[in-house]
Symmetry: C2
Subunit: 201 residues, 2 copies
């Protein structure tokens, strides 16, 4: 059982710009550069990047940060069902970190379960639900950084897009110093670089 | 005439750890991870990375930050002649930013000229000395960030090493948001990734 994580980041390491909201899930201003760069790589060269982006959705269970499901600031709107429509691409149990109780939400093959007991509890539930399969930390950066601080990620897949944000939510923030083992040569094209790192606990 | 810059950075964007000194030019603690990773890529796979690292020294003139020549905190020790011995690898005029007057220092084919009038003056002198050839910003990160803020770099070559520092001197710090144009696919091996970006002024 491997705990994986895929993150799309700017060259300066941001996973989103400032002021994320339902209207601007990657944040305003600089975040739009990252959003546009991700979209450009996916749409201009689908074959070059599709395998990388598809892996994001291949785990047997997921842990998702609250901002990834709903970047609003207040309690979840109980009518909010995520960004993904009737058939979210996860197709597996997703454990969403939150401070607010909410009944599970099933959409297509995906069930979102809202966990108020913190990251460790959400990870334990995802591991149980995965039944020996891989668990993915689905983001956002704050949750990934929490997982990195806890030493809970085995394999980190970074997708580096050609832009600099300068502000926003930064991957590795507060994580400290780590030795990484890069798995294989970098892949990708001029529209995006794919790097795989093993993190030894 | 192109203004270029080569920087070796950790995955989280640091060019050096904290507390740089003559004894620890990459800083103490986490900086040693970066130093070791650079050394590993150069020594284990010289052919895979030599072309990339050699380009650092190919400009017709250089601008160098004070910390790159001498990371001590006080005035330059007039006896200090840099890290490079009798034949520094630049083989060209190098304009060193400093707050302290010092007579030019010639070692082999390299002449270090100490400039107290700031970055713009050093860049203008390097451009004049390059006679139409390329000028390279030789680092460290503070000087590169100053050059990026001034819109003075055309081509940025990043060498991304498999480590996370968590603290130190960060590339892109205070530079703001930029669109980059990546030139070609990423190159390199599991020991280091080479990325080339054009920056449009």
């Amino acid at each position: 059982m491997t705990i994986t994580c895929d993150m799309s980041i700017s060259v300066d390491g941001f996973a989103a710009g400032p002021e994320q909201s339902l209207e601007h899930p990657f944040g305003r201003g600089p975040g739009e550069r990252l959003h546009d760069a991700i979209h450009r790589s996916r749409s201009a060269e689908p074959e070059a990047h599709a395998g990388e982006y598809a892996r994001l959705k291949r785990a047997a269970a997921f842990v998702m940060g609250r901002n990834m499901f709903d970047p609003g600031r207040g309690p979840h709107d109980p009518a909010w069902q995520g960004w993904w429509g009737d058939e979210p691409p996860y197709g597996a149990p997703v454990f969403v970190l939150t401070h607010h109780e909410r009944a599970p939400l099933t959409l297509g093959a995906t069930t979102f379960t809202f966990v108020t007991e913190g990251f460790d509890a959400a990870l334990a539930r995802a591991q149980a639900a995965a039944g020996g399969g891989d668990v993915a930390i689905a983001g956002g950066a704050a949750t990934v950084n929490q997982a990195l601080r806890a030493g809970a990620i085995d394999e980190l897949h970074l997708h580096v897009l050609p832009c600099v944000l300068g502000e926003g939510e930064r991957l590795f923030d507060g994580v400290g110093s780590l030795d990484l083992e890069q798995r294989g040569a970098p892949a990708g094209t001029a529209l995006g670089t794919h790097l795989t790192y093993a993190i030894h606990r």
